[in-house]
């Protein structure tokens, strides 16, 4: 099934739950397992939190999510902000690295996205914003009953 949604919302932390729930409800039409759905929800939560905390530094901005489903049951998520951007992507991708240590951040966001999804691409430009593109194929899990 080919299908696509676009969402955009204010960079308020109250919208993190909305973003997870909306993507999860949309992806449900591919009939994912509970584990696959939990993986996608977690990855969305991490990317949206990054946009709010790091992209906009808790300030106001717009977070956009595009979620596309393809015929081979691949979910492609693109999550963007127009915030401050990441200076050093390589460093940001390192496990446990955080630029906001005072904020009680674990530095695990990108590691979680990488682990729970099949692929992760991070594009960023200083003062222009950051885009995270993630894919996950539904039904490739051999633990299906």
């Amino acid at each position: 099934m080919e299908n696509k949604i676009n969402l955009s919302f204010l960079s308020k932390s109250a919208n993190e739950g909305f973003a997870r729930a909306a993507v999860s409800a949309f992806v449900a039409q591919l009939d994912p397992t509970l584990e696959e759905l939990a993986d996608i929800k977690t990855a969305v939560s991490e990317a949206v939190t990054n946009a709010i905390v790091h992209g906009y530094g808790h300030g106001n901005g717009i977070v956009t999510i595009s979620c596309a489903l393809s015929l081979d049951k691949t979910v492609c998520l693109t999550i963007s902000d127009a915030g401050r951007g990441i200076e050093n992507i390589e460093q940001a991708l390192e496990p446990m690295y955080t630029s906001a240590a005072d904020d009680e951040r674990s530095g695990m966001g990108f590691t979680v996205m990488e682990t729970f999804m099949d692929s992760l691409v991070v594009q960023s430009e200083m003062d222009k914003g950051t885009t995270v593109i993630m894919t996950k194929q539904i039904g490739s899990d051999s633990t299906l009953s």
Binding site: S13, A14, E16, G17, R20, E35, A38, D39, K41, T42, S45, E46, T49, I52, V53, E104, R105, S106, G107, M108, G109, T111, V112, T115
Partner: protein
Amino acid sequence: MQITLKLCNKTLIVKLIGELDHHEAEPTRMVIERTIAERDAKNLIFDFSDLSFMDSSGIGMIIGRYKLIHSLGGQVALVCTKPQTERLITMSGLKKLMTVYPGVENALRDLKEA
């Protein structure tokens, strides 16, 4: 998210029901810090058995409370039965700092003996 606090001797049991993300982490942190100070709690048990979702913001919140309890000479234990939460806890390396139990009673028993 719903937070239930219970003090058992010097151990504060924090039961979280709902979704623990970045939005919920800060109010949760404040309630726990205040209660530890007011009730002079030594140990901390996080009961995640009815937590339907957690992301890395939850891990950050746990590590923050671990640092506090550890500096006071106490211990932190986790109760977790959900596979998604368990995976995240394993990934984070938290198990090097604290033990994960299948139920609150098991955690309480170990903390009492320590």
